[in-house]
């Protein structure tokens, strides 16, 4: 739970110094943070266990999963669901509710639909990131931190106002790993704000596409990884 509070404090400290960042005020960035952090912590709750894969690979525990007549990925994610991570999701949820109350949102049926779509897609996107990273572990093993750059770096990126990014960052965290679609872009659409110049305001509606794209990456990565795997030896 403290993790979430400290992450929120990091954002808040910046706004202690300035009123507006990347065209967003604190209550508006709170909406970005709430959406992204809630989705991330729920994905972490269910799929975060993929992080343990390098340990299973090294000590051969993964071979046991192969003996059972169930899909490998399903066994991996269900081998440990740590409910203590729920407390962390509470921080994101609180931030989101506070942001929805504090911001002046012109509620309509479309807005509710967008909010639900954003939450479901954001969750799916982060879950896909964990699976993508898991697939890459079959090749990296010791180099597990390489994928952390994008999974946890992605979480960090997702809670930022993406309008401050330069083009290379947009390429990596805007589209390839569609982090901007988990918080920033849906928040802009909900608030009825225009993006930074070249971004149309309706882009937030494309969050499900982003989730589908991430899962394409994830399943490809997982497939390559599993094909590459030749057993733990011994």
């Amino acid at each position: 739970m403290l993790v979430g509070v400290v992450e929120l404090a990091e954002v808040w400290v910046l706004f202690h110094n300035v009123v507006e960042l990347g065209g967003l005020e604190f209550t508006q960035i709170l909406l970005v943070f709430g959406l992204a952090d809630l989705c991330f912590s729920l994905a972490d709750l269910s799929f975060g266990h993929c992080d343990r894969l390098p340990t299973y690979l090294r000590n051969g525990a993964l071979d046991v999963f192969y003996l059972r007549p169930q899909p490998l990925l399903l066994q991996l994610i269900t081998s440990d669901v740590s409910l203590r991570r729920l407390a962390r999701a509470a921080v994101g949820a609180t931030a989101l509710v506070a942001a929805l109350v504090l911001n002046d949102i012109d509620w309509s049926a479309a807005h509710v639909l967008l909010l639900v779509l954003a939450l479901v897609s954001g969750y799916a996107t982060f879950a896909g990131m964990f699976v993508w990273a898991g697939g890459a572990q079959f090749f990296l093993i010791e180099g597990a931190e390489t994928t952390n750059a994008f999974v946890y770096g992605g979480r960090y990126a997702a809670s930022q106002p993406a309008s401050v990014w330069n083009r290379p960052l947009w390429a990596v965290f805007g589209f390839f790993f569609p982090m901007a679609f988990t918080g920033f872009l849906p928040a802009l659409t909900l608030l009825g704000l225009d993006g930074p110049g070249w971004l149309p305001g309706w882009l937030g509606w494309c969050a499900p596409l982003a989730a589908a794209w991430t899962w394409l990456l994830a399943l490809l990565s997982w497939r390559f990884g599993v094909r590459h795997y030749q057993g733990g030896g011994g």
Partner: protein, 269 residues
């Protein structure tokens, strides 16, 4: 006396050499450092610009130095709370360590420092170089900043190892399972050390809270000296602060080790 120094020197070298075996891991760390560094550049540069180009003495160039030096130190300054001795205390292997003619605390800290010093080569220096080449950064006004900064980095690394020993490992004599402490350390230390936002941008009360802990002395102080944000006089004061924290943390750690030794229970048979 000379023999004692030689033994700990050997432990330092052993830690250094052991870390050199994990090159792929170090590369992964560098990728992570650089990615986070670029994200920090985006958000912190935007903050400085939104404040009118200057914020608490930080302009864009100085902010860049802060970002890349702190990212570079991340592989060496222990802000994750993990340490080998914690596992040895949990399993009871530490009983063997107590039989050796070595101080358990000193041996642990020295080995961890050796590993951290190696990490400067594949993670620390490349992070700073990437930052300097890709983003550009400010250089300190006085060349004295480099030797003072090097000393400060060494003190910061040692202080982090000693603090992890004190706050995460040593309580294991009583608690056995210290994973909770490790996570708590990881969450609090990074924030208060100024890893994501410089401590000097905190609101006043939070700065006071941070300065009441050893965390800024691990990361913020070395970065201030190396970036030239602190001039030579200020740098000397920061170094004195680091030394004082280190002495205090080492003394407390020693006291806990002696008390814990009497309390130690080796699990299992």
């Amino acid at each position: 006396m000379r023999a004692t120094v030689r033994v700990y020197w050997r432990l330092l070298v052993a830690g250094f050499r052991r870390q050199s075996a994990y090159l792929l891991a170090a590369f992964g760390g560098l990728v992570a450092n650089t990615t986070f560094g670029l994200l920090k550049v985006a958000i912190l540069f935007a903050t400085v610009e939104a404040a009118g180009g200057e914020l608490q003495g930080y302009d864009v160039a100085l902010m860049s130095t802060y970002i890349w030096v702190s990212q570079g130190l991340l592989g060496s300054v222990n802000l994750h709370g993990g340490t080998e001795i914690a596992e040895r205390i949990k399993t009871g292997d530490v009983a063997v360590d107590f039989l050796r003619p070595l101080d358990v605390q000193a041996a642990s800290v020295v080995t961890e420092v050796g590993r951290s010093l190696f990490s400067l080569i594949p993670r620390g220096i490349p992070s700073v170089l990437i930052g300097a080449l890709v983003v550009g950064m400010a250089a300190p006004a006085s060349p004295l900043a480099y030797p003072l900064g090097a000393l400060s980095v060494l003190l910061g690394i040692t202080l982090s190892a000693a603090t992890v020993y004190l706050l995460v490992a040593a309580p294991g004599f009583w608690l056995v399972e210290t994973r909770g402490l490790q996570v708590l350390y990881m969450v609090v230390s990074g924030f208060l050390a100024g890893l994501f936002v410089p401590v000097w941008l905190f609101p006043g009360w939070l700065q006071t809270v941070a300065e009441a802990t050893p965390f800024p002395a691990m990361l913020m102080y070395p970065v201030d000296i190396l970036s030239g944000r602190a001039d030579v006089t200020a740098a000397l004061a920061l170094l004195a602060g680091q030394a004082a924290w280190l002495a205090g943390v080492l003394l407390l750690g020693q006291a806990l080790t002696r008390a814990g030794r009497r309390r130690l229970e080796v699990q299992g048979g």
